[in-house]
Symmetry: C3
Subunit: 104 residues, 3 copies
Amino acid sequence: MSEHSGAATRTLVTIICEAVLESRLLKDLDALGAPGWTISEARGSGSRGVRASDWDNNSNIRVEVVCGRPVAEKIMQYMQVHYYADFAMICFLSDVEVLRLHKF
Amino acid sequence: MSEHSGAATRTLVTIICEAVLESRLLKDLDALGAPGWTISEARGSGSRGVRASDWDNNSNIRVEVVCGRPVAEKIMQYMQVHYYADFAMICFLSDVEVLRLHKF
Amino acid sequence: MSEHSGAATRTLVTIICEAVLESRLLKDLDALGAPGWTISEARGSGSRGVRASDWDNNSNIRVEVVCGRPVAEKIMQYMQVHYYADFAMICFLSDVEVLRLHKF
């Protein structure tokens, strides 16, 4: 990613999961150091997780967090350990560029 | 993108198009090997595609697929060949990082 | 990002902000040269911006623009100068890959 004056790299964490997990997930994110989050409603279908066949047509949420890389990796590891075995969830990281004055 | 223990790179395919295409698109994605998808509602406006002026204020969907690069490229090529001429659609790819135990 | 035949890199601008800013923001994007945009509804919470505590549980929007890097940087700079001091807003850039025939 090219750098321009004032630009800094942060990590975007995206979590897509069953809507029923929302309040539990937000408590986790807060404890893990997420500086904030954005939630949008979604629908999904996929061969992801043990409850994959139950996921079809379920109400899902898409949670996004912009943070430093260490917190992002901690969140992704936590999600895997605590949710992947029992819930349909997908979590992925990507690099994004913000302006330095924009604090995270 | 820095690698940490257990991390792997996948490709995120994002398709934004008219909501009326949903069922047709999901059949395509299944046939092209997408392991799953997430759909959210959206609104759009843009000079994209031949029906651009009709796209304003239309109901749109945002479809996301996380998969390996070959499937992602196949999806993007297919969208271009089958939809770009006749529908307002935007499709783009980006690299994302997942944990290895998370199968796609 | 690996290049395949016909692929080109563009920049995805993501803006998340209070829904009340929508019409003003779209006028800005048009003036700044954005070729189009996609809007989806969202909810957010975070320590971002001076009105952070007011942002919780507010109605937010997520605006996405795919464009060339110069326009993307102009948009991000403009958002910072005109909105960051007075509104809860987050803006970030990421690289995405499109097919060349797909004009932006």
